[in-house]
């Protein structure tokens, strides 16, 4: 039992305790969960130090399965990749829990909320620490059900219940791929032990390329689901039905990060298939660009943020697809921390603006300017981060080819749109209040665009970029061993390439600013309008799924139940019975004789039972038997009413069968 077992164990134990004694601990759940998550954060730090000095740690706990050739050991494999993610997961969770302890005050399902968030955190830590692919899969699904429970938190709202079901189902369809991938991995590598699989994949061997491609794509399908890649991206905006701290948790610490993590964890396997890599890169790039454009058109800030997360995840997937695994993880961690901050400050700001509407006397937008600026800076940094050092990997990873250029253009396009939508949404919300409420003066220039604010934006961002480049150098050195076998993990320094994306981001920013200040009511060409409506409706993905998948499935199920199950199979059996009865009728005299015999046997046994009853216990047994008799009588009468002469006929069917059986024996014996 290693001390690192505590990292998942503490949150899980807190979750179980709250689940069992939640009613008694009502309103005090955070007092249990916060210490648990905080301690597991500190243990994660200890793990980080240990891995930094001594390399990967393996912890084995117990044997889950040992059947035939399948052996599954529950254990942890803590390497450089794991500790970095643990740092993110437990760190962000701790912050979110502190935030939630205030946010959830007075909630009716206080204990439930903290129990599930603790389980969520615990599940994610097991996922990143797991040394076995089956264990990974198990907690992958556990996270799915946690998201289900959290999204249905405000279950009185029908939308919340619907969203929860839909989110889980979209994920579970994608997870079928992951499940198949796990079994295929077992068939291909003969084990589910992750270090073992990685070793075998790196050693090469005679794996058929076809099998590896299928396997990788199946595993990737799971990542598509959890990380909200197209076409499974529809669930992430729906997840906004959950309380705000949960959004921070889902977008920053748990759940969506599982996808890129899985790809990086299994990178030695994935790089074996060029086809799969290409598919991953293309899906990532498409998602990144599509989601960025969609978030540009959204009017709800939370939905904008959701599509922004989808877009960023698309980026990480793209980076994995071109083999820049280190960069993907770097982006993942940077994005995680910044997104968490953004969500929590959005929650605060929205609450604040609502208060402002209710109580105009508290109107202090200037005092909040600092917060707005901070949120703004931090939200623009992630795209800058990716395009500094790491982006060179994208450029260099697989040699110069047309495909890479295309991906590169897509990447820059995404940066452009990201800069645009972030500017747009933040200025709209923070300088004019929430859309629809008192935002008639939308042509007014954003208030914080004074020189002071520009300085507040530019200076920290310059410092941050410089700092991040230094961190990146160290980061790439640290993480490289964990993704050994991945191609071209060159240590990137500062280069002219950094300026390209930075410039693109600035252009996006400027375009958004000029558009924002442009007077309204100008004529817009019709194709532009159409395009806008298309993206405003998120590409109609939800509607397409509903019309072409969900409704036909349920409709067909109803039809099949009525027509096939009831109409064909059941009727077939019933008519088989009817035919037997018809045959039995033909037997005429036998019918009556057997009928009488059967009835007399019945009467005989009842009277025998009565006799026994009187003999043994007049009061007790006979009463029961009487009741039985009456019951049988009643049921018989009822049966007769229901379908005349059915019982007798059934017995006849039985007799017929017996005759047939006897004939059968003669035949066999003879």
């Amino acid at each position: 039992m290693s001390i690192y077992t505590l990292i998942p164990l503490l949150p899980l134990a807190a979750a179980v305790t709250l689940a069992l004694f939640g009613e008694r601990l009502h309103g005090k759940g955070h007092r249990l969960v916060i210490p648990a998550v905080t301690v597991s954060f500190f243990v994660s730090v200890a793990a980080f130090v240990e891995v930094y000095t001594n390399g990967p740690i393996e912890v084995s706990l117990y044997r889950l399965l040992d059947v035939g050739e399948l052996v599954v050991d529950v254990g942890f494999y803590i390497d450089q990749l794991t500790v970095l993610l643990l740092f993110l997961v437990t760190g962000v969770s701790t912050i979110v829990q502190f935030y939630a302890s205030r946010y959830m005050i007075g909630d009716r399902r206080h204990s439930r909320f903290f129990a599930v968030t603790a389980l969520f955190t615990g599940a994610m830590t097991v996922l990143v620490m797991s040394s076995n692919l089956l264990l990974t899969f198990i907690f992958w699904e556990v996270m799915g059900i946690c998201s289900y429970l959290l999204i249905s938190h405000y279950s009185d709202r029908p939308a919340a219940g619907r969203a929860a079901t839909k989110v889980f189902l979209v994920n579970s369809v994608a997870d079928v791929g992951l499940g198949i991938g796990v079994i295929l991995t077992f068939l291909t590598f003969g084990t589910l032990d992750i270090p073992e699989i990685l070793a075998r994949a790196q050693a090469g061997g005679d794996f058929s390329g076809y099998a590896i491609t299928i396997l990788t794509l199946c595993l990737f399908s799971g990542a598509v689901g959890k990380s909200a890649q197209m076409p499974a991206h529809v669930w992430l905006p729906l997840a906004m039905e959950a309380p705000t701290p949960v959004s921070a948790l889902i977008h920053a610490a748990t759940m969506v990060n599982a996808g890129p993590f899985l790809l990086v964890r299994l990178s030695p396997v994935i790089v074996l298939s060029q086809t799969a890599m290409t598919v991953i890169a293309v899906i990532g790039a498409t998602t990144a660009l599509f989601a960025a454009v969609v978030s540009l058109t959204q009017t709800d800030i939370k939905r904008t943020l959701a599509y922004s997360t989808i877009s960023q995840l698309g980026f990480m997937t793209l980076l994995c697809g071109v083999g820049a695994f280190v960069a993907a993880i770097f982006h993942l961690i940077a994005h995680g921390f910044f997104k968490a901050f953004l969500f929590l400050s959005t929650g605060n700001a929205l609450a604040a603006t609502e208060r402002r509407i209710d109580h105009p006397e508290h109107d202090q937008p200037r005092a909040m300017g600092g917060l707005f600026a901070g949120a703004f800076v931090l939200s623009v940094i992630p795209p800058l981060v990716i395009f500094s050092g790491p982006y060179r990997d994208l450029w260099l990873s697989q040699g110069f080819s047309a495909a890479n250029v295309a991906l590169w253009i897509v990447g820059l396009g995404t940066v452009f749109f990201t800069a645009m939508y972030l500017f747009k949404s933040i200025t709209e919300v923070f300088s004019h209040g929430p859309p629809g409420i008192g935002s008639s003066a939308s042509s007014v220039a954003p208030r914080f665009y004074s020189a002071r604010h520009v300085a507040a934006v530019l200076i920290p961002s310059a410092i941050a970029v410089g700092l991040l480049l230094v961190i990146w150098r160290w980061f790439a050195d640290f993480l490289s061993p964990a993704v050994g076998g991945a191609p071209s993990q060159s240590t990137a320094g500062f280069s002219a390439w950094v300026l390209v994306p930075l410039a693109v981001a600035v252009v996006g920013w400027v375009v958004a600013y000029t558009r924002h200040n442009r007077p309204h009511g100008r004529e817009v060409s019709s194709w532009k309008k159409r395009l806008y409506v298309f993206f405003l409706n998120k590409g109609y993905f939800d509607e397409i799924y509903d019309v072409f998948l969900v409704r036909p499935t349920i409709g067909a199920a109803h039809w099949m139940w009525q027509k096939i199950d009831r109409g064909v199979i059941d009727r077939l059996v019933v008519s088989l019975g009817t035919v037997s009865i018809g045959v039995a009728r033909r037997l005429g005299s036998v019918d009556i004789a057997v009928d009488r015999r059967v009835v007399s046997v019945g009467t005989g046994s009842v009277s025998a039972a009565r006799f026994l009853g009187r003999f043994i216990d007049t009061a007790g047994i006979s009463k029961t038997v009487d009741q039985f008799g009456r019951g049988i009588d009643a049921s018989g009468r009822a049966a007769r009413r229901y379908e005349p002469r059915t019982l007798q006929h059934n017995l006849l069917v039985v007799v017929l069968w017996l005759v047939a059986a006897l004939g059968f024996f003669y035949w066999i014996a003879g």
Binding site: V67, V176, I180, F186, W657, I668
Partner: protein
Amino acid sequence: MNSLFADHLLSWMIAMPFLGMVALAFVRERNAVLWTTLVATLINVALAVRLWIGFDPAQDRLQFVERVEWMPTFGIQYAVGVDGISLLLILLTTFLPPLCVLGSWESITSRLKAFMMLILLVQGAMMVVFTALDAFLFFMLWEVTMIPMYFMIVLWGGPGRIAAGLKFVLYSLTGSLLLLVGILGLSLQAGTFDIQLLAEHAYSENSQFWIFLALFLGFAIKLPMLPFHTWLPDAHSEAPTAGSVLLAGVLLKMGGYGFIRFCLPIFPEMAHTFAPVVLWMSVVGILYGGYMALAQTDLKRLVAYSSVSHMGFVTLGIFSFNNEGVEGAILQMVTHGLTTGAMFLIVGQLYDRTHSREIADYGGLQQRMPRFVAILSLFAVASFGLPATSNFIGEFLILVGVSYENFVFVVLAMGGIVLGAAYMLWMLQRVAFGQPRTEAARQLKDLDFREMLTVAPLAIAVIVVGVYPGPLLQAMDASVTYVVERLGTG
């Protein structure tokens, strides 16, 4: 005295329900009846634990064997014994009845004593079915299980009980006559009813096919496999709660047990011949059952169709003929007993309050009954095999087992799991979330202590087996290996 107990542990376990029935004859008061039954079933649980402790998992042959001549003229014996496979099913058979008694504590208002006697009778008969080493004894008690079930359905059932009862009896009788044909066919050729000796006899080519077919159909109807399943939704939904629990929890497993005990070891070649057909029927059953469940508007019927789907997994595992598949199938039988039994218990608790099984009559239960919804959610997700619950282990093993045969089955069966998630979560959404749709649903009381006590053991078992299935798998490993080795590779 000690040896009288220790040497005949199995017979004591079999006798316990019948002793309970005798004891019931002498009590009259309502509470006394309930407590007597509960104590009788609990003693059996204690005995089962004792049996499990005494069981040596390393041995692949039968243990605790007891033999007494019964009808020497025909070579019929009272012969019982357990191997790892029977052991698990016996644990299930002893574990569920006390919960059935607790579940019927208040809901059975008329003829309580007779009802309790029937529960004990079913339990006793099933104990013999799962331990019998003599084919005749097996068949006799197999038949006996049908009778109390029939009365439970027609006397205490729902509005459509008479038709459901008839259908159940018709199907069961057809099945058991086929079974009788098969068993007599076996013994006429082999000259014995001893199951172990039956397996060693070489049967003539011609008869093999027919006897296998008769036995197979007999078990397939009980399980039930796809085209023979229509009795199940009616019987399950019309039966009283305890009846549904016993029916779904234990009775169906007699079919799967029959496959493993008779069909596979006695006719290995025939099993291999039939396997492709059975495997296809299984996956079709998985998808079909799930699909039908999606269409249901009645809670109990939904659970019943989900059983059809789950039983498809059982045959899928058994007929993949390897350790992974067969052990997965047995585990799936046990865990299906736990989760589906629990589903029926909890739906029954809801039914006790409103006397409605229609999904549309509920909604928003989360507001009034948080405990109920928590338990319902747990069993719903366990039922479709969410990882970290017991059903996942069984289903995963089955999928691994069948993946050696043909990967197409894995892909299709996975589709069944998604369907499972769909109908269970959709049901949950309509029952638990949103706003109450009827006035009655607004007034409901949450589960009380007795009702929690009824489902809590199952909830614990579902989680414990899900994260630590080792002991159960270990107990049956040697016995399953023995069966699989007999089958060879075909």
